[in-house]
């Protein structure tokens, strides 16, 4: 029973952490992609002849923005679907007792 309490505590905290990891990453990228796309369209409307050059640079920036959100989302998904290292530590401690 005590073990069940411990596991439930870790799981609830982990879910909140994973939700934060995924949600904040999604929020940040959504916001910055909006800004990036908006500015891109604005500058193309101003100078249409620069469009090919700007498209390439926009994709570079998209790659830069995407990276850290991807790391964050992967960490969150690993906590939820993979094996949770904190839970594994508690379980092995309980098994050794």
């Amino acid at each position: 029973m005590e073990l069940a309490h411990l596991i439930a505590g870790i799981q609830s905290i982990t879910v909140i952490a994973a939700a934060g990891l995924i949600a904040i990453a999604a929020f940040g990228t959504a916001l910055s992609f909006g800004m990036l796309g908006g500015k891109f369209l604005e500058s193309i409307a101003r100078q249409p002849e620069l469009a090919p050059m700007l498209t390439m640079r926009m994709f570079v920036m998209a790659g830069l923005i995407d990276a850290f959100a991807a790391i964050s989302v992967a960490t969150g998904l690993l906590l939820v679907f993979g094996s949770n290292p904190f839970l594994v530590a508690v379980l092995s401690a309980a098994a050794n007792r």
Binding site: V60, L64, A67, A70, I71, A74, L78, F81, S83
Partner: protein, 265 residues
Amino acid sequence: MTANFLHPATSGEYIQHHLEYLQLNLRTFTMEKGGFWTLNLDTLALTIIFGVLFFGLFYFVVTRLSSEVPGKLQNAVEMTIEFVQQLVKEVFHGKSALIAPLALTIFVWILSLNALDLLPVDLLIRILFCFGFAHHFRLVPTDDPNFTFALSLSVFALIIFYNFKAKGFKGVTKEVLTVPFGKWLFPLNVTFRLIEELVKPISLSLRLFGNMFAGELIFLLIATMPWWIQWTAGGIWSIFHILVITIQAFVFMMLTIIYLSMAHE
């Protein structure tokens, strides 16, 4: 059961098994983790195979060039080389025999290794299992941080080398001590410079690793879904992932060029 990763009990175990490398302990020469003295054989094998394959292909095309009737293969190779050359010309204004070939190598190598992500996650493991090979095997070398760090540390070494080559020992010392706040605040300048330089290899490699790892993990999650929805989910994510694969190879190459041209100026 020899291969419990083919028939795992839970989806968590399935994912965990697919995230293990084929490791060789260099102290005892057994297939287990050995701390620092561990070789990831799957990463090494795939990177070498694909490096030889693609650069052999490029070499093969270059040896039998034809200016009258260029084939499709020759056109593809020419397009890649011209694309990289154009980018290097735009960003880097000095003269260097190294930067353009380096950029081409990085782009083609990373692109081909990233493209392995599009193969089904169980394909290679099952084929190897048919030949009696019951070990872990990671398919995508670029989601091994050891490989991405190896790439970015090589680029980092080149950045330092070109700093000294372009400016001389005196020039570099002067720049490190006096930029950006002038000579009286030199401790701050040195700290800023150190942070700025050290962030480069870390961000380069973690960016590539993070994207590829996230992609691979989502493919694994899709593989644990029921079979009738795997096609739709996997198809959508594959199409999106083609974009990520290309962009990450491109960004790695672009940042290498930019960093090296910054070292020259």
